[in-house]
Structures are given as structure tokens and as C-alpha cells.
């Protein structure tokens, strides 16, 4: 029974990774841009949500509603931060150098933003973890010795719903077709009458949204936020994205869940510090035998920096 519990926990943890991994895979798949600000967007959403509910909202909302509003504003801030990053990394270099993806420039610039956001939060709140409790009393289902936390269950559901929504957006709508055309060939997309400059911010809004939601779900699941929460989750999400294959949304889901499972099971069987070796070792081995990942296309992400 314990092992079933571990598998459940692994899937729940994986569902957090899924949100972040989808954000990574989207920017790489469409813009060929490894966006290193994604871990801090995740962290910003959680930390801003916490600080709003800790210091109190201006409107004096009652508990469950105020808590939900704080989380919502946190997610919104992540989207805004993502748009700021777009303005000063991707759009700027695209305008100046034509094809920004030819250079490592946006990547380096996004590392700069990673430091800026991370240390802004550290200066404001210090490096301690903060308890961020849900206003509800007991949130667990118990049956037959198994414990399923309702927020974790909801987050698994929300993650899958987000990705299903994204999948529909990409395959069924006009915007999705424009996004896929941009991913395929930005120059040809312009010739086909797609306003690429207006499409790119959409990608960053989606990125901010996914990271923000994942951050909020993390806060709900673990009742704790810290300025460093993005580092671990972000790197594991990268592992999940690569496992699934760059640019593949369903690959990101599978990869995120696999990483979550591997991590939990490895901690269960081999002890707390073993997860780093198993997760990254698995990734390294996979890259050697199947460099495009489980579901990835051959062409994505291979262009020179």
C-alpha cells in the first residue's frame, strides 16, 4: 500500500512540474528560445500571493475569498513579469538583429532577468521559507490507508485541463494555427499575413500564466513558499521537458509526470539525496540514445545559438 501511496505522491508532484515544463516547451517549440526566467515566474506567483495574504489585501476581503484573490494577483503578476521579459529580451533583439534565435543573446538576457527577479524578492522578503496556509481545515481524503490530498488532486486535474486547453488552442483555433506557423518558419509566417510581432507576446502571456498557475498550485499543495522554490522545480521541469521532447506539449506532460514519479520512488527506495542522480542520470542516458526525447521532433532546438 505504501508503494501505491508513493506513486500517487509522485504523480501529484509531477503535475506541478507539468505546468512549468509546458511553459518551457512552448517557448522553445515556437520561438526556439530557452527562457530561463520561467523558474522565477513560478516563484514570483507564489511569493506575491503569500505576501499579499500575509500583509493583508487593501479591500479587507474575508478569508477564502481574500486568499483566492491573493493567489490570483500572484498569477497576474507572473504574466506581467513575463511580458516585461518579452519586451526587453525577445522583442528587442528580434528588432535589432532580425532573427534573434541565431544568437545566444535572448538566453543570456533571460539569465539576467532570472537574477533580477530572484534577488528583488530576496531583498524584499529575505531567504526564509514562509508558511502559506490554505484557509480550509482538513483537505485530505482517506480511504483504505491511502491519503489523497484534495488540493493535489485538484492540481493534477488543473494541470491536465490547462494542457488539454492548450492543445485545443494550438490545433483548433486561428490563433493556434498562427502560432504553429510561426514555429514552423517565422519568415514564411510573415509572408502569409501573420503579424508575428503580435503573436510572440501571446506565447509569453501563456508562459506567465502556466508558471503562475503552477506556482499557485505549489503554494496550495505544500503550504509553503520560498524565494528558492523556483530553482528546484524549474530544473526538474527542464528535465521533464527534455525527457518528453522539446516543443511537444504532450511530451511535457509525460516528462513532468515521469520526473515526479522517478523522484518520489527514488527517494523512497534509495534515500533523500538519490533523486538528483536518478533524475538527471535518466535524462543523460535518454539524451544519448534518443536525443530528440520521447515525443520530440527531430528539428526543434538543434539550430545553432
Amino acid at each position: 500500500m505504501l508503494i501505491v501511496q508513493q506513486i500517487l505522491n509522485g504523480l501529484m508532484l509531477g503535475s506541478i512540474y507539468v505546468g512549468v515544463a509546458v511553459a518551457f516547451t512552448l517557448t522553445i517549440g515556437i520561438l526556439n528560445f530557452l527562457n530561463f526566467t520561467i523558474p522565477v515566474l513560478f516563484m514570483l506567483s507564489g511569493m506575491i500571493g503569500w505576501s499579499l495574504s500575509f500583509y493583508g489585501l487593501p479591500f479587507g476581503l474575508s478569508e477564502p475569498l481574500g486568499w483566492l484573490t491573493s493567489l490570483g494577483i500572484g498569477v497576474f503578476c507572473a504574466v506581467v513579469a513575463s511580458l516585461i521579459v518579452e519586451r526587453f529580451t525577445y522583442r528587442y533583439f528580434k528588432a535589432k538583429h532580425g532573427d534573434a534565435t541565431e544568437h545566444a543573446i535572448p538566453l543570456v538576457s533571460s539569465l539576467g532577468f532570472l537574477l533580477i527577479f530572484e534577488y528583488m524578492v530576496l531583498i524584499a522578503h529575505g531567504s526564509d521559507s514562509r508558511g502559506f496556509h490554505t484557509p480550509f481545515a482538513d483537505l485530505n481524503w482517506r480511504f483504505d490507508g491511502l491519503v489523497i490530498s484534495i488540493p493535489q488532486f485538484i492540481s493534477l486535474f488543473v494541470s491536465l485541463a490547462i494542457v488539454a486547453g492548450l492543445s485545443i488552442l494550438l490545433t483548433r483555433t486561428k490563433l493556434g494555427r498562427a502560432l504553429r506557423a510561426t514555429a514552423e518558419n517565422p519568415d514564411a509566417a510573415v509572408l502569409m499575413g501573420i503579424e508575428v510581432n503580435r503573436i510572440v507576446p501571446v506565447v509569453f502571456v501563456l508562459t506567465g500564466l502556466f508558471c503562475g498557475l503552477a506556482g499557485a498550485l505549489f503554494a496550495i499543495n505544500y503550504s509553503e513558499v520560498s524565494p528558492y522554490m523556483g530553482d528546484q522545480v524549474g530544473t526538474k521541469a527542464i528535465a521533464g521537458m527534455v525527457l518528453g521532447g522539446l516543443g511537444s506539449v504532450w511530451g511535457a506532460i509525460a516528462g513532468g509526470l515521469i520526473v515526479g514519479l522517478t523522484e518520489t520512488l527514488s527517494i523512497y527506495f534509495f534515500g533523500a539525496t538519490s533523486a538528483q542522480v536518478t533524475v538527471w542520470g535518466l535524462l543523460l542516458v535518454l539524451l544519448l540514445f534518443r536525443p530528440q526525447g520521447l515525443f520530440g521532433h527531430n528539428a526543434i532546438g538543434k539550430g545553432k545559438f
Partner: protein
């Protein structure tokens, strides 16, 4: 010389050698985001050799460098199967695995770290650094350096011109591993203690930034980049957090002003032209 100044020079020297370790692969067109892994290998090789076998400092440094080179050589074959973003992520994964193995190893002290029994003065680090700088400058001026540049600019054309792509890239990884290993060994000796928490993802990111912001076109790049970003935080006397915030702002601004790095071939040519006497520029008088 005050303890503060000598400490600063030692850190600067270690960072410069480390940056050159990443630079040689970048100069051959490969981004290595696993710097911390290679440096950790050198540092732990040094700590283990000096503590367990009691070899002299010089030979420990040589062996640590060789261990770094060997690992760089071996890991180059699998890593070179990947390209672009995948390579960045594969090197990153490599560093995480190295750190993970150290963390789980009894022999290497796990999360407790290892104590290094010997100690070197900052002068030795300074001389080693100068040696490495001269070596890399010389390397980049040889036909081998030219071949690395060719592979960096266009692999297909380099192959057509008879450059052995694979040998150059594997060699670059081996040399990069050697230099990063050397910097790790110097680090271990100077600080007398190695712990795995130091070799984290941020270290890999920082050292890659030194190189990319300094510029990968010439051997001046990593020297200027590492110096700039080691000294600037010292000059800005403020809290640790503010330093990194300003570091981040500098990176963003730097990429806007000089996207190819601080030092570019073009900029060097212009400076060179200005320094030369006017009659040498080939234009007839009047």
C-alpha cells in the same frame, strides 16, 4: 599586500582559469552549461589525492588537471551527439549528475565536504593564471585555434576545408575539462575545504555568463568578462543581494549594448588601427 587584496587576486585567478575552461569549448561552437560539474571534479580529485595519498602540491595539480581532461574527453563523445539547446541541457544534466554522485558518495564526504590538507599562496595562483592566459592566447593564434574558429562559425564549411570537426570538438571539451579541473584544484587548495553545495547550477550559469558577456570571438573575452564580473561586485560595496540584482541588470544592459560580448574582433581591429602609426594604414599621402 593585505589579506583582502590577495584573496581577491586568488578568486580572480580561479575565475579566469575557469572561464577559459568554458571558453575553449565555446570558441569551438559548443555552449557548456556544466562548468560546475567539471570544476567539482577537479576540486574533489585534488582533495582526495592530497588527503589520501599525500602527493606534493604540484603533482596533485597536474593529476587533477589530467582527471578533468580525461572526463572532458570521455563525456565529449556522448554530449557531441546532441546539438543546440539539447547540448546546453545535456551538459547541464552532466553537472547535476556529478554533483548528485558526490552528494551520495561516502568516499567524497557526501554533503559534509572534504578538508584539504595542503595550502597554496595567492602568488602560485597568480602565476598559474598568467600561464593559462598565455597558453590560450597562443593556442588561438595557432592553426588549431583558427580551426576552432572555423568550426564555431560554420561546421559544414569547416569540414569542406578539411578541418576534422569531431577531433576539434572533442579536443575542445578535453581541454575545457582540464582547465576547469585545474581551477577546481586551485580552489580546493586555496580555501582548504570543498563542499558540494558550492558547485551548484548558479556557478555553471555565472561562468558561462563571464564568457558570453566577455565575448567568445577572441581570447580577451573571458579574461575581461571574468575580471569585470569579479571586480564589479567588490567595487559596489553593498549587501550580497543587491550585488546580484545589479549583476542581473548589468547583464541585460550589456546584451543590449554589446550583444556579441564586451570584446569583439571588430573592436580590437579598430583599437589596433588607432594605435598604429598613421603612415602604416596604406593610404597614400594627400
Amino acid at each position: 599586500m593585505s589579506g583582502y587584496m590577495s584573496g581577491l587576486i586568488a578568486i580572480l585567478g580561479i575565475n579566469v582559469i575557469f572561464a577559459y575552461g568554458i571558453y575553449v569549448t565555446a570558441a569551438a561552437g559548443q555552449l557548456n552549461l556544466g562548468g560546475a560539474g567539471f570544476q567539482a571534479i577537479g576540486a574533489y580529485a585534488c582533495a582526495l589525492l592530497s588527503a589520501t595519498y599525500g602527493i606534493s602540491i604540484f603533482w596533485t595539480l597536474v593529476f587533477s588537471t589530467l582527471v578533468g581532461a580525461a572526463i572532458g574527453f570521455l563525456i565529449a563523445f556522448p554530449i557531441l551527439r546532441t546539438r543546440g539547446v539539447y547540448m546546453v541541457l545535456a551538459t547541464f544534466a552532466f553537472a547535476e549528475v556529478v554533483v548528485g554522485i558526490i552528494l551520495n558518495s561516502e568516499l567524497l564526504g557526501g554533503s559534509m565536504g572534504l578538508i584539504v590538507s595542503d595550502y597554496i599562496e595567492w602568488q602560485s595562483i597568480l602565476w598559474t593564471t598568467i600561464g593559462v592566459i598565455i597558453f590560450v592566447f597562443y593556442l588561438m593564434s595557432t592553426p588549431l585555434g583558427l580551426a576552432m574558429r572555423a568550426v564555431h562559425d560554420d561546421e559544414a564549411v569547416a569540414t569542406i576545408m578539411g578541418v576534422n570537426n569531431r577531433a576539434i570538438q572533442v579536443g575542445a571539451f578535453a581541454l575545457g575539462g582540464a582547465l576547469a579541473g585545474l581551477s577546481g584544484a586551485l580552489y580546493a587548495y586555496y580555501f582548504g575545504f570543498v563542499e558540494v553545495q558550492y558547485f551548484n547550477a548558479f556557478l555553471s550559469i555565472f561562468v558561462l555568463l563571464y564568457v558570453l558577456i566577455g565575448g567568445t570571438q577572441t581570447a580577451w573575452g573571458p579574461l575581461i568578462g571574468a575580471t569585470f564580473f569579479t571586480l564589479i561586485p567588490e567595487a559596489l560595496r553593498m549587501g550580497e543581494d543587491w550585488r546580484f540584482l545589479i549583476f542581473g541588470v548589468l547583464i541585460v544592459v550589456m546584451m543590449i549594448i554589446r550583444p556579441e560580448g564586451i570584446v569583439t574582433r571588430d573592436a580590437l581591429d579598430r583599437i589596433w588601427l588607432k594605435l598604429k602609426p598613421q603612415t602604416n594604414d596604406g593610404a597614400p599621402n594627400g
